[in-house]
Each structure stands twice: as structure tokens, then as C-alpha cells.
Amino acid sequence: MKKNLFTAIIFGIALVSCESSTYDEVSDTEVPTEKITYTKHVKGIMEAKCTSCHSTGGSASSRPLNTYAQVNGSINQIIDRIQRPAGDPLRMPQGGTMSAADISIIVKWKEDGL
């Protein structure tokens, strides 16, 4: 019985592929070449990834990110936090992921002059 269980576990592990991919390879989104604007590109990302906590009633309500002025005013901090490496407790968004493309859009928004 124990032997069977052991064999089943070993086979189970072996069945899953060990082929590696990079984060970029599994992501499809591309960064727009046009000038990035808050309304067209950034607002959607903020609503999908940030405002569930960073708004009134959220766990990070003291730092809201609902409006252009709020996001603009915190842009350096936002860029710092979303680019922190995995394993850093200050990495954002907490308990979720952000694609490399979304990170690049926010960085490019600042470069394009906000």
C-alpha cells in the first residue's frame, strides 16, 4: 500500500512538464507606442489592480488612487512599489499580479509627461 502510494506520487510529479518559460513568454499584452494617457490607458489598470484597496472603505484607504490627481501625485511611489521583486513584502499589488505590460504602461505614462 505504502509502496503504491509512493510510486503514484513519484509518477504524478513526473507527469507535470518541467519545461521553463519566462513571464514575458506567457504574456500577450503589448505596450502601446502612442502617447500614454491617464483616461485611455492608466485608469483601467488602477481600477483592475489598485482601487479595491486604495479607495474609501478599502484596506489602504489612507492612500486613495481613484483620481488623476491622486495617481499623478503618487506616481514615483507607485512605480517603485510595482517594480519591487517577488518576495518583497512591499511589492504591489498585494495578493495579486500585474503583467509586465501594465508595469511598462505606467512607467511610460510618466516618461510621456503624465
Binding site: I9, S17, T22, Y23, S27, G87, P89, G95, G96, S99
Partner: protein, 281 residues
């Protein structure tokens, strides 16, 4: 009548002595047949990494582990207490030499399955204890909206370790842990898909129920971002509990993340406080 009772008493006493002799002989034979050295570590983990200790047959361990945020942030996050990561899991001893475990933790919403088995026990005839340890982890945090071409296998990472320990004396033990990590998904500029590490750990008992533990891993695939994990802990035994208090430069609880995603820096004071709590059923 009195004579009879005296005879009976004498007989039973001599029988009792004879029995005692036999038992004492048994103890002598037992000790010469089973000259194994007691486990090198009291906890299943030295600090965060695994020790050579295994769960005994039929033992079910319940483990709760916390790692708090960066202590150097001070009152901003109350010395890290606001940014806690938690692991909850079970370990079951199928035999004295084989145990299985399953856990879930905050970092990458990771599920971790592990198998640990003893290859050789330290004894008077063999100088070290050798244990094999393998984990498979699943990253359940990855979102299809962000990573459209994501497949199930991309969520998986593997760890294989050979744990070699020696209990030098009643109070002092050391361990070497050569380790290999494979990641099915990685960030090429900060990470490598295959990583080899050499681990060193030790335990020094300072009183009957308290020991000081430390461990350090050298990662041979150098990264600009991730540091070599280094941790310092205290084991406190209290009845059915082993309580491990610790400081580490890696905030992650699961083995792979702990070994390859350490972002803290002891030199700059960016370290994390945490604890492991075990309950044995």
C-alpha cells in the same frame, strides 16, 4: 500455613529477581543492537529550511508559521507586524522514515506538497544522518488576465535537497543541505530557471528546552536582486509544541521562495521577524 506463605514469598521474590535479571539483559542487548544517535534537531525545520528530523510513524503535525514585514520600517508598519505572511500546513508520518506534507502560504498564494525520507540514520557505525527532501509548489496567484498564454505547468516549481546532519554532542549539531531548484516560470533578468545552492545549518542547545539555531544558503546562480538567505532562530519546547522564533532576510515561508526570493539585507537591517508553531497530534 506460615511455612507455606514464607515458601511462596521466597519463591516469588526469587522469580522476580530472575525476571529483573532478564529485563536488564534485554536492555543491554537492546542498547548494543540499536546504537542510534538521537535526532540532530528538535524541530522539523532548522529555522525555515528543513532539518533531518522526520515525523514519527502516525504523527500528525499541524504547523502555523508567520513572517512579518521589514523591521527597519519602524512604527510605519509597527516593525513589520502590519505586513504578515502566513503558512498553514500538515505533516504526516507514514513511517518513521517517510513523511508527507501539504501547506498553503501567502507568498504567490503557494500550495506546497513535500516528501521527506530517511536514507541513513546516524549511529555508532555511521557518522551522519542522510535525508532526502523534495517539494512541488504551485503558484495559484498568477492570473490569466495578465498572463494570457499561461498553462498549468507554468505554475509549478520543484526543489530537491539532500540533508546531511551530524549530532556532535548532546547540545551541538550541524547540517549540510545541497539543494537544487527548478522553476517552470522565471524572470530572466532577476532569476534563473535552474539554481544550485549549498546550505549550512546548526543548533546549539543552551538549556533543557531552549536552543539557538542558524542557517545560511549560498546560491551559485548570482542575482542582482535576490540575496542569499540567512536566518537566526530560537527553539523553545513546551509540551506538545515546538515554538521557533526567528529573524531572517527572506520573508517567504515555502522552501523555494525562501531559498530564491530573499529580498532583505542583514547589513542594512532589512530583516523579517517570524515564528513557526508546531502542534503534534
Amino acid at each position: 500455613m506460615i511455612k507455606r506463605v514464607t515458601m511462596l514469598l521466597l519463591l516469588s521474590t526469587s522469580a522476580l529477581f530472575a525476571q529483573e535479571d532478564d529485563l536488564l539483559k534485554q536492555i543491554d542487548t537492546l542498547s548494543s543492537n540499536f546504537d542510534f544517535v538521537p535526532p540532530a534537531f528538535k524541530g522539523l525545520q532548522i529555522v525555515t529550511a528543513q532539518s533531518t528530523k522526520l515525523a514519527a510513524k502516525g504523527d500528525l503535525y499541524f504547523v502555523v508559521a508567520h513572517r512579518f514585514g521589514d523591521v527597519s520600517e519602524g512604527f510605519d508598519n509597527f516593525f513589520g507586524l502590519d505586513d504578515a505572511a502566513t503558512k498553514i500546513g500538515f505533516i504526516y508520518g507514514l513511517s518513521d522514515n517517510l513523511s508527507l506534507s501539504l501547506s498553503r502560504e501567502t507568498f504567490m498564494k503557494t500550495y506546497e506538497g513535500a516528501i521527506k525520507y530517511r536514507i541513513i540514520k546516524q549511529s555508532e557505525k555511521f557518522p551522519v544522518e542522510v535525508v532526502g527532501y523534495h517539494t512541488v509548489t504551485l503558484n495559484s496567484e498568477l492570473d490569466k488576465d495578465d498572463f494570457q498564454k499561461l498553462e498549468f505547468s507554468n505554475r509549478i516549481s520543484y526543489l530537491s535537497q539532500l540533508l546531511i546532519s551530524r549530532r556532535f554532542s548532546e547540545s551541538f549539531s550541524l547540517q549540510l543541505s545541497p539543494s537544487y531548484v527548478h522553476k517552470n516560470l522565471y524572470m530572466p533578468n532577476t532569476d534563473e530557471k535552474d539554481q544550485m545552492l549549498a546550505g549550512f545549518g546548526g543548533r546549539y542547545k543552551i538549556s533543557k528546552r531552549v536552543s539557538i539555531n542558524a542557517e545560511y544558503f549560498v546560491n551559485f546562480s548570482e542575482s542582482d536582486v535576490y540575496k542569499n538567505p540567512a536566518s537566526l532562530g530560537v527553539d523553545i519546547e513546551t509540551g506538545g509544541h515546538v515554538f521557533q522564533l526567528l529573524f531572517s532576510n527572506s520573508q517567504v515561508n515555502s522552501d523555494i521562495g525562501y531559498l530564491t526570493n530573499a529580498t532583505g539585507d542583514w547589513g542594512k537591517g532589512n530583516i523579517y521577524f517570524g515564528f513557526n508553531l508546531y502542534r503534534v497530534f
